[in-house]
């Protein structure tokens, strides 16, 4: 579903981390770890096609991307946001399915309120409802635990586990471990000095 071969993301002409090689198959959940500025977000953005400066190569299936910006329009209700997103994926608009997804995510009560009126955690849950609506099998999640309460974090682990059990794959950047069994870990670090070409301060680059 996703293969990376000596992939290094670059910012300002500098590699952010040691070359990464990994194959992610259906059913895999990969936890992406690394210190602040290690390049987790940049790696995910690269895999999603939003960042084009890298060396090495990768091959990826169509993916669902969840960045720090949630991708919810504050003027629209969660239901309308889901309808818009389904339209992007060329899925039919099925209110029932959207309502089910919102219920699963625990924000059904807010289905008809503008997203801007929702709390940060509720917005995260609406974003989670979008993953449930999506037909994409590869999920690229950037720190999805942010702002979620304890039950939200459990729900997230559950949703990810189910997605993997159904033959999907998840790559998830996170600082605190997600409660998923059989997960693999990909740690990003910058150790090699040979790839260092600039002034020798790789951690200066803000990548998150």
């Amino acid at each position: 579903m996703l293969t990376m071969q000596s992939l290094v993301c670059e910012r300002g002409g500098q590699g952010l981390f040691d070359p990464v090689s990994m194959a992610v198959a259906a059913g895999d959940c990969v936890e992406l770890t690394g210190a602040n500025g290690a390049g987790k977000s940049t790696l995910l953005r690269t895999l999603a096609g939003l960042h084009s400066r890298y060396s090495g190569s990768f091959d990826s299936a169509d993916s669902l991307f969840q960045g720090h910006r949630l991708g919810l329009d504050g003027l629209l209700t969660p239901l309308e946001n889901l309808a818009w997103f389904a339209g992007l994926e060329k899925q039919p608009v099925e209110q029932e399915r959207f309502l089910d997804a919102l219920q699963r995510a625990g924000v059904l009560a807010k289905a008809y309120a503008p997203c801007s009126e929702l709390s940060a955690g509720q917005q995260r849950r609406v974003a989670m409802a979008r993953w449930l609506v999506s037909s994409r099998s590869l999920w690229l999640l950037d720190e999805p635990l942010t702002a979620l309460d304890v039950s939200g974090q459990d729900l997230l682990a559950q949703v990810i586990t189910e997605h993997c059990a159904l033959g999907g794959a998840v790559v998830c950047a996170t600082h605190s471990p997600i409660k998923v069994a059989n997960k693999r870990t990909l740690g990003l670090a910058f150790t090699s000095s040979e790839s260092q070409t600039g002034d020798g301060y790789p951690s200066d680059d803000p990548s998150e």
Binding site: L50, G67, W84
Partner: protein, 218 residues
């Protein structure tokens, strides 16, 4: 496509300020001009003045074109998820034109009267704006896509886009002047149409490239 249009339409309905503010600006600036330079009212300069005000109004309406979507992450989602982002971009440009250029076209003849243009050129004024303003939205979209990542992109946007607007200004003004002097309108109509069509051919690609660059800068 339907879902995209529906979203754009809901946003226009819910963020009325985006439509009302530029229109209010156009009306106010015309009024200010009438008060500040009464000698110019009804003079040869009016077509140029009118089109300049239209340009500035478009500029004002352009600044927010992609900003909300950029800040909320909707733009990211569109580029990652949509198989053909051009549809989304063209939809956005069309709605921008509908909420700015089209309304300007409706108001144009009235503003012309305010500035002392004779009533018989009202049709030419509206026509010049109907064919000219799409070019402003399309070319402006390119500028807006490149500057959306800047926190204060407004000034840069103006510097980038105003030169691109010049051909439209020249032939839009020319069309109204030709109508005033009773000359042949066709050359100006062809030229304005050509500008808009060329802009239509270029703008979606250039906008996509601009948006990608803006998204990559963060």
């Amino acid at each position: 496509m339907k879902a995209l249009l529906r979203r754009e339409w809901l946003i226009v309905l819910r963020a009325k300020g985006a439509v009302i503010n530029p229109v209010a600006f156009l009306l106010l600036s015309t009024l200010i001009f009438v008060i500040a330079a009464p000698d110019a009212v009804g003079s040869q300069a009016v077509p140029g003045i009118l089109w300049t005000l239209v340009l500035l109004t478009q500029l004002l309406a352009l600044d927010g074109m992609y900003r909300r979507d950029f800040d909320s992450g909707v733009l990211e989602q569109t580029l990652v998820t949509a198989q053909v982002p051009f549809v989304a971009i063209l939809t956005r440009i069309f709605m921008q034109w509908l909420s700015a250029g089209f309304i300007i076209t409706i108001l144009g003849p009235g503003l012309g009267l305010m500035l002392g243009l004779p009533a018989h050129v009202a049709g030419a004024v509206a026509l010049s704006m109907l064919i000219g303003t799409p070019a402003l939205s399309l070319l402006g979209s390119i500028g807006a896509s490149v500057t959306v990542g800047f926190s204060r992109g407004g000034v840069v946007l103006a510097l980038l886009v105003l030169p691109l607007f010049l051909p439209t200004l020249i032939f839009g003004t020319g069309l109204v002047e030709a109508a005033l002097s009773g000359g042949n309108l066709m050359p100006q109509i062809y030229a304005l149409s050509l500008i808009s069509l060329v802009a239509l051919a270029i703008a979606p690609f250039a906008t996509l490239a601009g948006l990608k660059i803006s998204l990559e800068m963060q």
